[in-house]
Amino acid sequence: MRTVPALAAASAALLALAPWAPQWLVFLLALALAKGLVVLGLLLLMRAGLVSFGQGLYFGLGAYAAALLAHRGGLADAALMIVAGTLGAAAVAALVGLLLARYREIFFGMLSLAFSMILYGLLVKSSTLGSTDGFSVHVRHFAGVPLAEGAERRIFYAASVLAVLALAWALHRWLGSHWGRVTAAIRDNELRVEYLGASVYRVVYVNYIVAGALAGLGGAFAALAVGHVDPETAYWTTSGEFVFIAILGGTGNVLAPFLAAIIFEALRTVANQYAPNVWQMALGVAMLAIILFLPGGLWTLARRKA
């Protein structure tokens, strides 16, 4: 499958839904795309053989940074909030990454989880940030333009589609470049990469920051879509969801995270309504089926058809 035309077509279709789709569908897709952005960053890490169980750290940071700008800073502009969420998460990833880029396998996974749980603990304990309840997000402008009453969610959704289009395309190009090849080479054989003269640490560090920034952006979009932030965004189950979506979609293509995220959110919505007590069990069975029959994720099916 040709990625760029497929990405453009999918984005056009999603954008076309923005003005007329029912609110519940706009909400579902906006949340799925926000999570897809986090998983896009996870895909970058997984291409180098690293699985982070703590992307909730940056998802939560992005959501809270964006929300705080409106809540405490008085800057209730969605565009600024998106930038704040992205940059805030990237800055923390740049600090945490200094340590994490030295670790691999289970140590990388567990350390990333530990950092996300530190943020969760801080959020839960902080009464000024709403403790376990979190707080609501009220947005009045987008890039200086006042938002029409009732159209906010549709505009945020359209913005998230455009962001997905731009970032998925950019990452597709990046993965096809020398950097992407070295990233895959690191997964296969770090020793050889070093003996060829490249710094494995540098590649992992930069990828980690990019993954953090994407998760922050996803968090900011999620905060805008939901209109509320709470510590659950940084909780380990949220991070686990991202890993689940990454495995569901596979890491073979930049479209896979978004396809998987939409399927995941749709399934959850349906299951919550019709079978709320077996939702987690259904997830477990789905995970088992994917690992057994489609270890490369759902994207393998698209590749086979192509």
């Binding site: 080479a185 020793l191 003996y195 060829l196 710094s199």
Partner: protein, 242 residues
């Protein structure tokens, strides 16, 4: 001719085992030197110390006027010293061409794609270009391993058993390709080898290791006929022969 590599008084122990003791070695620029020795003699330990994978307990290693001890493999590679491995170190899921593209990209070749294709041709790897490196026959894996080491256009190339695990009739073909690739480029070559026919044919000088020490060093004919080498390296029963 000035030495490109000088190892002075190198020592390395792993617990009670001495892997290198009092190693003193200098390689002349442009020379082709073979290191021989039985398994466990310290050959690969020497290569690992030179390339920064192991740090000697004592001693100095100078390459092209620069001290190597304390530098990382990456820094040493950047100085112009490349190596291949006894077990080829490849990117198993990437194709042969992608392996070379990674190497060319890291070496910052100007035209990465063309440079990779030229290497494919020079090492007769063209028929395998699209095949994942993990699915290659051993001889081709060895060639790709060496080709990747040569991408950085090193001044010194260290080859760790470039023909081990390869069918006897392929060994000379591999060495011909490798030596053909470095010939006329002023590259100094040091290769570890067990096959004495290969050693005699390609090396201008032979260094024999035994028990972490250099026991003979000189022209191939002289070293291979030395009593200690015949006994400890080649495994002949010298007393019975006498």
């Amino acid at each position: 001719m000035s030495a490109i590599l000088e190892a002075d008084d190198l020592h390395k122990r792993f617990g009670a085992v001495s892997a290198a003791a009092d190693i003193n070695l200098a390689l002349a620029r442009g020379s082709v030197v073979s290191v021989i020795g039985a398994n466990g003699a310290g050959k690969t330990t020497f290569l690992n110390m030179v390339t920064g994978y192991l740090r000697p307990d004592h001693g100095r290693i100078r390459f092209d006027g620069q001290e190597l001890v304390g530098r990382t493999p990456r820094q040493i590679t950047r100085l112009g010293l490349a190596r291949s491995f006894q077990i080829p170190q490849l990117f198993q899921t990437l194709s042969v061409r992608e392996n070379l593209l990674v190497a060319e990209g890291i070496a910052a070749a100007e035209r990465v794609e063309e440079a990779a294709d030229a290497l494919l041709e020079r090492f007769s790897l063209g028929p395998y270009a699209a095949r994942p490196a993990g699915l290659l026959p051993e001889g081709v894996r060895k060639l790709l391993d060496v080709a990747m080491a040569l991408v950085a256009q090193p001044k010194l190339l260290l080859l760790d058993e470039p023909t081990s695990g390869v069918a006897a009739d392929e060994k000379f073909a591999i060495m011909d390709l490798v030596m053909g690739a470095v010939r006329g480029q002023g590259v100094t070559v040091l290769f570890v080898e067990h096959d004495m026919d290969i050693v005699s044919r390609y090396a201008g000088r032979v260094v024999a290791f035994y028990d972490g020490r250099v026991i003979a060093d000189g022209a191939p004919a002289a070293v291979l006929s030395a009593e200690e080498v015949r006994r400890y390296v080649i495994g002949e029963d010298v007393r019975a022969a006498a």
